[in-house]
């Protein structure tokens, strides 16, 4: 790791004020930044530490909103009673991310800014292969090489990587907004729009841009509408813990009042597949009143299935009924030669997340 000059920010404004100069990086937890420095993904002459800013800490309810400070660690978010109760999919996503010790350092603000886990991208410089993210114009080694873990939506010939953040998927599904501070003052970015697919970035004339956050802006926190609907986060991975998702799905489901009566399916804890909600004894078929669902690790952004969300009200909460709805909503998936399985896997994850959120899994 090359050395850098270091300063502790006393206020968020002071931190933002340093970002106008080139090669200045912000450090909070540091779990990503230090590895970027080691690999040569990022280089900085100056690092400004925001870790001491109490104004960016804390988790609290503010009316109909849940406010989460950017410096809240993934463990703090994941185990906070307000989050488990009012944004259960986010809590579950946080606790299924990384490891216990990484989660004690990694912050919810920095987490959504992590870069792809594409192995061609995450190699030590000098790269022995092309990568447009590392060396614009060099090409994409993954497209010509291994790409079974890569995107099925929104990719281009220039890059097929996916965004790996678990919390970002839940934040997008739950309509969270990021509070952002820049030189011109504060603004908010809906988390549904925070990340960009390669196609969106190319259309905007910046093919390698990954988020709408400006280089001179800082995430100070998030606001989420509180939800008492059932929620779940399903993460499919090659080992049971401490592994990135192959695909994931976050869901929030409100059931229709009917034969069984309304039933608040409690937020799922650590395991989205857990015991499931209590079955309404003798109740008829449960139907969905409203649902939100987003897929993770299928694109360079969390992928809300908006077509499904429009169709789900009135749909029975059964695997048989949900499968065709999700399938139709994913009809525009364009898998690469090696990752067609991700279409099926993502479809199934979405169905499982909806069932778990509705208490039927």
């Amino acid at each position: 790791m090359r050395d850098f000059a270091y300063a502790r920010a006393g206020t968020a404004e002071a931190a933002v004020g340093t970002l106008a100069a080139p090669r200045t990086a912000v450090i909070a937890g540091g779990t990503e930044l230090l590895n970027w420095f080691r690999l040569g993904i990022a280089a900085a002459d100056r690092v400004v530490d925001i870790g001491g800013l109490d104004e960016l800490r804390g988790i609290a309810r503010d009316g109909d909103e849940l406010r989460i400070g950017a410096l809240a660690t993934l463990n703090e978010v994941g185990e906070h009673p307000l989050v488990t109760r009012l944004a259960g999919a986010l809590a579950s996503a946080c606790l299924q991310a990384a490891s216990a010790q990484v989660r004690n350092r990694a912050t919810i603000g920095g987490n959504v800014l992590q870069r792809t886990r594409c192995p061609y991208f995450r190699a030590e410089e000098p790269l022995p292969w092309p990568c447009n993210k590392r060396d614009p114009g060099s090409g994409c080694a993954s497209l010509a090489g291994r790409h079974e873990r890569q995107a099925i939506f929104g990719w281009t010939q220039d890059c097929v990587a996916v965004q790996p953040s678990d919390p970002a998927v839940a934040l997008a599904a739950l309509d969270a907004r990021a509070d952002v501070l820049g030189p011109a003052g504060p603004r908010t970015i809906p988390m549904r729009e925070f990340h960009l697919t390669q196609r969106e970035a190319a259309a905007a004339g910046e093919p390698m841009r990954e988020t709408r956050l400006g280089a001179d802006e800082l995430i100070t926190g998030y606001r989420l509408p509180v939800s008492t609907a059932g929620q779940a986060y399903v993460k499919v991975r090659e080992r049971a813990s401490y592994e990135y998702a192959i695909v994931s799905a976050a869901a929030d489901v409100r059931l229709a009042e009917g034969a069984g009566g309304p039933r608040a399916a409690g937020a799922k804890g650590q395991s989205a597949e857990g015991a499931g909600g209590p079955r309404a004894a003798g109740a008829g078929e449960q139907r969905i009143a409203a649902a939100r669902v987003a897929l993770g690790s299928v694109a360079q952004r969390p992928w809300r299935l908006t077509a499904a969300e429009a169709e789900l009200p009135g749909t029975p909460l059964t695997r048989e009924a949900l499968l065709p709805v999700i399938e139709r909503a994913m009809a525009d998936a364009v898998p690469l030669p090696q990752n067609g399985f991700k279409v099926t896997m993502a479809r199934n994850a979405a169905v499982r997340a909806l069932l778990a959120a509705g208490g039927a899994a």
């Binding site: 270091y6 590895n35 216990a100 990484v102 350092r105 813990s241």
Partner: protein, 170 residues
Amino acid sequence: MTLDFARRVEVTLRLNARSRTTVVSPRTTLLDWLRDDIGLTGAKKGCNEGACGTCTVLVDGRRMNGCLTLVVQCEGRSVTTVEGLAGMKGAGEVGGELHPVQRAFADHDAFQCGYCTPGQLMSAVACIAEGHATDDASVREWMSGNICRCSAYPQITAAVLAAAREEAGR
């Protein structure tokens, strides 16, 4: 507003219950500082990217990867390494009576080569303090950040649960 960026930074922290003031280059990780400057080589440099957990130490009682932590981020904090574990209970000298978690690891044969053990021990102490050492599944989930290539996982799990039971019974 301008901030003063420095290439050498003075940091005061507590290390294994003893106050220390040091001057470091900002890029110095807690792991490198412990091993190379202080000579505490319990925490190991396995992967140096947060993937293996063998550099796990406690910072203000919370387990963290020493390789993902800069010394400058530890200003005013209290760091505990495996070398400080034996002395933790009795305020005695380092090298005193083994910590209950250390004893449980020995009693349960919870290691073969021992390379991951310092990280496993520190992670286990925190896992128990957090209240996550409740059953096999919970221990396996909350200890998943510590890799053991000898695959002593069943013995490690048993040791963590035994130490947790002992702690609860005290």
